[in-house]
């Protein structure tokens, strides 16, 4: 079995259709979106709330598959010299969580009236899990990607709460608890693996910052009212993020959202 599997070769059945992230970013319609016509925070007050929530739920579903694939690759791609066995055991446990999340997400999709593959899938989450350095990959997956998962799950949990959907609120709350654990795991391993190599830790955190900027995606995630996904500060703190780190993510997201051609995927 080959190592460092490329995103374009990920296995999907014929219900799925792949979209390229660059096509979304370069969509010529982006330039025409007027100020004030952004998708906005995901709340029941949005006229397109149901559609936006279904679309985000489908994004979570494919994100869970990619998180499973990313954590799974880490178990296989590195030998014990590159990554300690205990780290890979943690990744294997995480795979179990991600597989369960995938099943929950499919059922939540059905609950909301969505079919598997109804929306196109981009693979930018998995692409963050392809770094050949296990420490950088760990930060990409367990701090950036899983950190985004904390933000998304909390956003969906609050949406479920606000519109009185008990199933959505309950499921998101349980998955959110797992994501906090995954990020905590990433924070702990990053500290342990780079204890005697501050330069590597710095490179890992810089890589994480690059990935986080990509995930904030011109305002997709942030603290402004026009960001569909809100930065979940409390849960991030529980997961081992420092306030300065969260401030940096928020500031980067704010800067990025001001760029022309903004378009949230939801």
């Amino acid at each position: 079995m080959r190592k460092s599997f490329p995103a374009e070769d990920l296995a999907r059945d014929d219900r799925f259709r792949r979209a390229r992230t660059e096509d979304r970013i370069n969509d010529p319609r982006n330039q025409f979106l007027p100020e004030g016509r952004r998708a906005g925070r995901l709340t029941p007050e949005r006229p397109d709330a149901a559609h936006a929530a279904r679309q985000m739920m489908h994004g979570i579903f494919v994100g869970e598959i990619q998180a499973l694939e990313g954590a799974g690759r880490t178990v296989w791609d590195f030998d014990d010299d590159d990554a300690p066995f205990a780290l890979k055991l943690d990744m294997a446990r995480q795979c179990w969580d991600e597989a369960r999340h995938t099943e929950i997400s499919v059922k939540l999709g059905e609950w909301m009236g969505t079919e598997v593959g109804e929306f196109a899938e981009t693979t930018f989450l998995y692409e963050a899990a392809c770094n050949p350095d296990p420490v950088l990959r760990l930060t990409g997956v367990n701090r950036a990607l899983e950190g985004l998962a904390i933000d998304v799950f909390n956003t969906m949990r609050e949406f479920g709460q606000a519109c009185g959907d008990p199933v959505l609120e309950f499921c998101e709350d349980w998955m959110l608890a797992d994501e906090v654990t995954h990020v905590k795991m990433g924070s702990d391993w990053l500290r342990r693996l780079t204890e005697s190599d501050p330069g590597r830790r710095e490179r890992a955190l810089e890589f994480q910052r690059v990935v986080d900027k990509l995930f904030s995606f011109r305002g997709f995630r942030g603290e402004g009212d026009d960001s569909p996904v809100q930065l979940a500060r409390t849960f991030r703190r529980m997961a081992g993020f420092g306030d300065a780190e969260i401030d940096t993510i928020a500031a980067d997201a704010e800067t990025d959202s001001q760029q022309e051609g903004w378009k949230a995927p939801v």
Binding site: A19, R29, P47, D48, H51, Q55, E110, M112, G113
Partner: protein, 179 residues
């Protein structure tokens, strides 16, 4: 039926004005919009969002559609025949209701509450599914309805009455909305 589409040519999305006009005429006939009505479909290809509305003035109808409403959710900027049929079916059933004196006198689309939108959409798409013999997304419409009317057995029963209903009136829809 006279159907026109604006713009005549699209540059940002892979849509075809002739195809949209043909679909609009077909769906309008299917849902019972009177033959002498003229329909203008105004597509904003610059918008990836899916907002739609219909304006009725005398025997003229103007459908205002953001491009995202006709777009394939799996393929960026590509037209979806099935999606367009559903969007047009929903809009044109509303138009047909507005032309039906027995239906009553609903407010203009812009003045409808979100709860009224969800209820009338359920009634339109339930009929469209039966008339066209297609899956018009009962599950996703039920979810949209629940967001506006509550996640309760009573709301589900109201949705079922709308989805499976026929010959309902604006007053029936308002009753569902608690008006």
């Amino acid at each position: 039926m006279n159907v026109t589409v604006a713009p005549q040519a699209f540059s940002l999305v892979a849509f075809d004005a002739g195809r949209i006009a043909a679909l609009a005429a077909e769906v309008a006939a299917l849902v019972g919009v009177p033959d002498d009505v003229t329909v203008e479909v105004d597509v904003d290809e610059r918008s990836p969002f899916g907002k739609t509305s219909a304006l009725v003035s005398g025997r003229s109808v103007r459908l205002i559609v953001e491009g995202g409403a006709l777009e394939d959710p799996q393929r960026l900027r590509q037209f979806s025949d099935a999606g367009a049929r559903l969007a047009l079916g929903r809009l044109l059933y509303r138009v047909a209701d507005r032309f039906d004196p027995a239906f009553g006198d609903p407010p203009a689309d812009a003045d409808l509450t979100m709860a009224e939108h969800a209820a009338w959409d359920a009634y339109c798409l339930g009929r469209y599914a039966r008339r066209a013999g297609v899956d018009s997304g009962e599950g996703r419409r039920r979810y949209a309805f629940r967001i506006r009317h509550g996640f309760t057995d009573a709301a589900d029963q109201a949705f079922d009455r709308l989805w499976h209903g026929s010959d309902l009136t604006w007053s029936d829809i308002q009753r569902v909305c608690g008006v």
